[in-house]
Each structure stands twice: as C-alpha cells, then as structure tokens.
Subunit: 190 residues, 2 copies
DNA sequence: TTTACCATGTAAAGAGTTACATGATTCC
DNA sequence: GGAATCATGTAACTCTTTACATGGTAAA
C-alpha cells in the first residue's frame, strides 16, 4: 500500500503540445507562438508552463530533442516519438472528462440586478466589445487559408483546424447577438 | 521592500459566493447546493474549496456568521456585510480580466485529422450528446420561473438570472448546430 | 548601438481537484 | 436499524499565473 504509482496528469496542455509537435518539430518558443497564432482561442499557456512540460514529455519518452548543431546557441528542438503519437491519438478518441464550466461574464450577468441601470449597460457594452475583438482576432487566424476551398476538400489536413475555428466563431456570434439584445432591452425598458 | 502586502485574490469564486449570499443567508452546504441548482453552468466549486474561502471572507469582514442557536449541531450560517456588498458591486462593474480561453473539445477538434473517420464521428457524436445533456439540465434550472413572464418584467429580480441562462443556452445551441453539421459532413464525405 | 526578437528557465504563490475523515439528523 | 441527507473540514497533489532572471542574434 506504500506503492506510489506516478500520478496521472489529466491536463490537456501536454496533448496540445504533442498536437502542435505533430505539425512540425519546434522549440518551446515556437510552441508558444503556435499557440498564439493557431489554437490560442481554445488553449494556451505561458512559457513557464511550457518548458517544464516539455521536460516531462521528454522524460516519458513522448517527445525527443533533435541533435543540436553546436552553433553556440542554447536551443532544443523537439519531435514527437511514435509513443507520443499513440498517446495523443488515445486522448483524442477518449471521451472528454466532465468538469465544471467557468464563465466569468455569465457569473456577472447572473448578479447584474445589484448594479444600477447605467452600470448594467456598461458591463454589457464591454462584453460586446470583447466578443467583437475575439471575432476580429479569429479573422486573422482564418486569413491564411481560403475558407470555402479548405472546407469543401474533406481530405485536406487543414479541414479540422478550420472546423474548430468555425465552431468557436458560431458560438461567439450567438453570444454576441444575445448580449446585444440584452443591451437593447436594457436601454429601452430598464 | 520587505513589505508583504496581502496578495490580491483574483478568483471569481469569492464573488460567486458573495453573490449567492445576497440572495439568502446560507451555510457552506447551502452554497454548494445553490451553485448546483442555479449558476452551476457558469461557475461551481467543491466543498473543499468553499469552506476555506468562507473563512477568508469572514476574516476580511465581507461576510459574518449568524448567532448560532446551541442545538448541538455544528453549523455556520453566513450573511453578507455592507463591506461585502460594496466589494461585490465593484467587481460586478469592473471590466473582466482577460485570461486564456480553455476549451478541451475545440482542442480535440483542431487535431481530429489524426484519427480515422469512424473515430472522428464518434468524437463528434459524444460532444453532441454532451451539449444535449447540458441543454436538458438547463431546462431544469429554467423550470421554476415562467420564462416569458419574467423576461417581460424588466424590474423583476430574476430577470438577470434568466438572462444569464439565456445567453448560455443560445451559445450552446449554436455550438450544437455546428457540431451536428460537422457530423453530417463527416458521415457523408469523410 | 539599441531595439526587437529568439530562447530558456526558476521561484513563489494562487486556484482547483481528489481523497480522506468525521459525525449529526431525518426519513423509511 | 439503515440509508439519505446535512454539515464541515484537512492533506496532498496538480494546474496556472506572475514575477524574476539571463543571455544570444539580427536588423535598423
């Protein structure tokens, strides 16, 4: 009973990193940028979380560093191993674990009664602005590829990346519409 | 420079708790249930997080325990203080801090290319089912009050609680529609 | 030469989850 | 008498953020 089996890491961060590494070998720095530029709307992490996770993944044999040319520059470029790919696929196919949802805006909205009408309108306007910013940012992510073309070609490697962005876009737009409607109602009758 | 000012707590948990306590005095146990029954789709916490937070809120004077009747039963019922209300209102009116979004399903979707077509369909079906469950659960939350009536009366205290649920519902439905469409495309052409 | 970008970390603390532990009351 | 519910916590661990720290390379 004193047995201490390695605790299972449940986080998605490691799988996000493994996934990005299937696209190309990369350094920790590259991975951070790839988050920002491609999948940041769904997952992201700070450098200080990425580097230790890379070390753990290496220790577990899920990734390995490329042979480094001694150019005097400190740099580790990683690749996914066969074992890493296997683990990633297993995670992708597994049902998502159910945890609590956390949504700070909805929490505020729930208690908005406690503010004055002008304060309420301000909160709603801020959220609408934030959602608009997100949609604008998403356009930059979607820019690189031709949207309709990639969507039609079902065998295209970018199809699912595009699909993820589209799902995010759709729910963000729905939310923006709801918030705008609340704002109108609030300015008219509240 | 050795000064150690109390670290600011950035979490929304304390405000969720303060908010619930504006609705009625409650024990930690009550608060847990209120989360589950009212605002759980937007914020929630385990007992083991709620009890220590209640202690901290009490220490900071934001809530206070009611005088306990000595009925032999260990129980602390809390109320919000004037200071607590003030802090809650300040948080409600403040712009939300921008952090990273985290969405495990979108992360999976982004890398779905790595699975076989039947595995992909399975992942999509699971997510559709999960979203349907969420909508069904939301109906239970919305049941207690007459929806159209509460929405029309802009001065009603429940109006904003209903609004929060409606925004959540709208974005969940949009997401479900997107996922179903991907499923159809995937079953037809993939 | 200085600014922007490339590159990698450690330390400390806060936030959240899981497992464990205890005991009273109420309803059947 | 047993099960469900009420009620409160501690310990250990994992996950995430913030602050700090360092140094190389490339372009203007």
């Amino acid at each position: 009973m004193t047995e201490g089996p390695a605790q299972q890491r449940r986080t998605s961060l490691r799988f996000a990193i493994l996934g990005l590494l299937t696209r190309r070998p990369a350094t920790g720095y590259d991975i951070k940028r790839d988050f920002d530029r491609t999948i940041g709307y769904a997952w992201n992490a700070h450098d200080s979380q990425i580097y230790p996770e890379l070390r753990r993944l290496e220790e577990e044999g899920l990734i390995r560093p490329e042979a480094t040319k001694p150019d005097g520059r400190r740099r580790r470029t990683y690749r996914v191993t066969a074992g890493g790919r296997k683990r990633l696929r297993a995670w992708l196919a597994a049902p998502a674990e159910r945890g609590f949802q956390r949504d700070e805006f909805l929490l505020r909205l729930f208690f908005l009664q406690l503010l004055t009408p002008p304060e309420r309108a301000s909160v709603l306007r801020l959220e609408a602005g934030r959602l608009e910013d997100e949609l604008r940012l998403l356009e930059t992510v979607l820019g690189p590829f031709d949207r309709s073309g990639a969507a039609a070609d079902t065998s295209h490697a970018l199809r699912w990346q595009l699909a993820a962005a589209r799902v995010f876009e759709a729910s963000t737009r729905a939310r923006l519409a709801s918030v705008r409607q609340l704002l109108e109602e609030s300015e008219a009758g509240g």
